[in-house]
Amino acid sequence: MLRLSLPMRIIVFAALILYVLIVVTPFGMVFMNSFKNMREIYQRPFSLPEIFRFENYERAWTSARLGQAYLNSIFVTSTSIAGILIVSSMLAFMLSRFRFRFRKLLYMYIIMGLALPARLAIIPIYVILTRMGLVDTHLGLIIVYIATGISFATFLLKRFMDDIPKELEESAVIDGATPRTIFFRIALPLTAPGMVVVGLVNFVSVWNDFFFPFIIITNRARYTMPLAISGFFGEFSNRWDLIAAALSLGVIPIMIIFFFFSKYFITGMTQGALK
């Protein structure tokens, strides 16, 4: 830990406060403007709203169909995360606990996907989904997310499973445990923290993803959150009051979740990304 002199500490502290202001101001501005009307936005963009016009929220919510979009996003995100966890935990268990031919190769193949963006494969993905009749469906989207999430999840869960002491497993085997009981009774409970990290990381990436829904989904009724707001932005391009309300509705729930779980988010992202 760096030791700073008092004046230096004050300078650094002030700089960090300025940094926080740069982070917070855009959100604050959107939130303020979401209660104003157009005249107020143009004439007094700095000030607090004269009165809180909640009707902006009402209109944004209904015309952008945010209710539907929220349900869609919740469905797609939770199903994808569940799928990723199921597939990856089993895969990680195999890779960590069994010795078989091409194990190393399989593992390298999986973790090569860690840094390789799936969007590079969008043309084949799109062609395959078309042939399977899954274009413009949530299932198509979910399959893509599960496939792209496996790399990171398997990588992380395998590390957690590698850290489980061998003795624990050996004594379980002596007591007559099958690989199945070892998986459910030992491996899964002991990797729970890893599962939380995988869940959060994928929550952020799937929930926020714009590219895949943008290409795969065309029916408005199936829009996810970012797509719905983006469509709304295009349609109401000069109604900044409504856009601000729609943006607030998109941003605030995620922020609340973030502040609740910030500790997990931060340790998860950083230790997950590279350790």
């Binding site: 830990m1 760096l2 030791r3 700073l4 230096m8 500490r9 650094v12 502290f13 700089a15 960090l16 940094y19 926080v20 982070v23 917070v24 101001t25 855009p26 959100f27 501005m29 959107v30 403007n33 936005i41 143009y42 004439q43 963009p45 700095f46 390298m108 973790i111 996907g113 860690l114 840094a115 390789l116 963006p117 969007r119 590079l120 494969a121 969008i122 043309i123 929930w207 926020n208 993803d209 714009f210 590219f211 943008f214 959150m225 970012p226 707001i229 932005f233 856009i243 943006l247 998109g250 941003v251 922020m255 973030f258 910030s262 931060i266 992202m269 950083t270 990304a273 590279l274 350790k275």
Partner: protein, 256 residues
């Protein structure tokens, strides 16, 4: 579908499409250069301060990461409001502190649009890099630094000779990630420059060019999977060796 041999690759490198491709490639490279500077160099120094003895360290670490959990397109739209030439906060602020002549149509002028978009991108992503550096600085043995201070080392020397060498591995891996991600940027340019890379293609990147080519440029041109695929193959060839190095580095470090 018709087999055209290397025809698509010829179009990419030569002719009128070639010019467009080089423009987009150049802009993606610009993204990479600015991203690397801010997300590695600036982020490292912010991380150094975030790990020093300072009030409210936890609070700052949380706030730094905040924009990272917001969808990139939403970040784009939020900044579209901030940068609105008439009432956006950025120009208002400049006017209010008497810097009238610095006000710009940030996203509408050819010489500022791309840099503005890159900076918005950095605004959202830098928190991740800062926190990775924070994590690796916290891994540095405190006794090493204590010993250095006892020997009378200055802060600058501690940063240069202890912290920096010990976080070099993070620099390597992050540089690879920045390279790969820079050439896959799409959302933020779509949100702020549009699918045509406005104004006048100055913000066009490989992601938007690819989208226009493969999936149709919203009416301006026919869709051409083959040509689009050729663009992706070029990006793929640039990116795949690096992602192999990345996977290798992660595994090697685990072993050591």
């Amino acid at each position: 579908m018709r087999f055209v041999g290397l025809e698509n690759f010829r179009s990419i490198f030569f002719g009128s499409f070639g010019a467009e491709f080089r423009n987009a490639l150049g802009n993606s490279f610009y993204f990479f250069i600015l991203n690397s500077f801010f997300e590695l160099v600036v982020a490292f120094f912010i991380a150094v301060f975030l790990t020093s003895r300072i009030w409210g360290r936890r609070f700052f670490q949380t706030m730094v990461y905040l924009p990272n959990v917001i969808s990139m397109v939403l970040v784009g739209f939020i900044w579209a409001m901030m940068l609105n030439p008439q009432w956006g906060l950025v120009n208002q602020l400049l006017r209010n502190v008497g810097l009238q002549n610095l006000t710009r149509v940030w996203l509408g002028e050819a010489d500022t649009a791309l840099t503005t978009i890159v900076m918005v991108n950095i605004w959202r992503n830098i928190g991740f890099y800062i926190l990775v550096f924070v994590a690796s600085i916290l891994n540095v043995d405190p006794e090493l630094m204590d010993a250095a201070y006892i020997d009378g080392a200055s802060n600058w020397r501690v940063i240069r000779h202890i912290l920096f060498p010990l976080v070099v591995p993070s620099f390597q891996t992050l540089l690879i990630l920045i390279f790969i991600w820079s050439f896959n940027i799409f959302d933020i340019v779509y949100a702020l420059g549009g699918i045509q890379g406005s104004p006048f293609r100055t913000t066009d990147v490989l992601g938007t060019l690819f989208y226009r080519t493969a999936f149709g440029g919203l009416g301006s041109s026919a869709q051409d999977y083959g040509l689009g695929a050729a663009i992706v193959v070029v990006v793929f060839l640039m990116v795949i060796p690096l992602s192999m190095v990345y996977a290798y580095l992660l595994e090697k470090r685990r072993g050591g």
